[in-house]
Symmetry: C2
Subunit: 211 residues, 2 copies
């Protein structure tokens, strides 16, 4: 058994945040497939034994079980000593962007993508609402990246790995990234990191036709 | 000048998270009014000099300037030694709920309330979408609180102060908290903390008619 077990599935950008971190840091890990599209995260058993929040990812490491991608990233940064903060100010700057990601960036991007690509149907007004919010957040990030290569400065950290995740599902997002040139350059820099892999190459999926 | 300046306004539950923490810990603070309803957070000057994310709250403490309520709460827990983690496991558990709050709880509750109470008009399908998401998150929290008095155990922490904030705007939420008996008991416990105050009593507002 590998040191780390990651409960995940290929379509989950939140799981990808952890999977990408595990891969880039060369930690010994294995995926545990979560059959989200057949309702596994909604099952009482999953909620009772894996994650009461009904979400992926969940990371197991010995007796430690963690959920919420931000907590997992922070834990893996501690464990690996990579993509981590240089001092207290930097640590707060990293958390600032991880929180922004959860509140305004991933939250709208992921929900827009889900309704666009995976839901049976979606109300046009809801899609439009989510797209507007996601574009607003993308504009803030694009401006922020105009003067520095990564979200918290010159080096890549877990803040970048958190924020980039959903953007690699490019053709599923329900919006275009073309207006955000700095975001596209930043994604290129992350994609160029040694060992980078696309979410569908890193985690199992039940949907063979997604790529 | 007080030790801490909090950029805030009475209607902001995210600002209230910080204001409540400052008050309960008896730190020396003063509010700096942000005129959100007249567009202050959308002004280029605010984005350049106060917060590029275009949000409140922002906390200033000497040369340190922080945004994102989760970062501010964590910083004030460090500064005051109150409402903080007992060990590493507890710290991760606190962050797990602060992240859940940002991603699934405050995010939907705050947006539903904003569209219900402050927006000129809102699409019914969007309100229904947000209400469904908020109720799902409330159900998870209500179940979690069935077996313990506070979000991370027997003692109140910054996770509770983060998650409770919007729920004190009871009649503005656009949903009823009645189905969530454990949440209501938890709110009563927080309301009973020495020094607790309602957001509209703690922070300035431009809308005199909100209460």
């Amino acid at each position: 058994m590998a040191d780390y077990q990651l409960y995940c599935f290929g379509e989950s950008g939140n799981a990808y945040k952890a999977a990408l971190m595990l891969t880039l840091t060369n930690l010994d890990w294995e995926p545990v497939f979560v059959d989200f599209f057949n309702g596994e995260t909604r099952n009482p058993g999953y909620r009772e034994h894996v994650n009461e929040m009904g979400e992926a990812p969940v990371l197991k490491h010995g007796s430690i079980k963690l959920s919420q991608s931000g907590v997992i990233l922070d834990y893996l940064a501690e464990q690996s000593g990579q993509f981590s903060a240089q001092d207290d100010d930097h640590r707060r700057e990293i958390w600032r962007w991880i929180l922004f990601d959860n509140h305004k960036f991933t939250s709208y991007l992921a929900t827009l993508r889900f309704l666009t690509t995976f839901a049976e149907s979606a109300d046009t007004a809801v899609l439009s609402f989510l797209r507007g919010r996601a574009e607003g957040a993308l504009g803030i990030v694009d401006k922020h990246l105009a003067t520095q290569p990564f979200m918290t400065g010159d080096t890549v950290t877990i803040a970048d790995l958190s924020m980039c995740a959903y953007l690699f599902y490019e053709d599923e997002l329900g919006l275009s990234l073309k207006p955000y040139a700095n975001v596209l350059s930043w994604l290129h820099r992350i994609r160029s990191l040694p060992g980078w892999q696309h979410p569908y190459d890193l985690m199992p999926t039940s949907r063979r036709d997604t790529r």
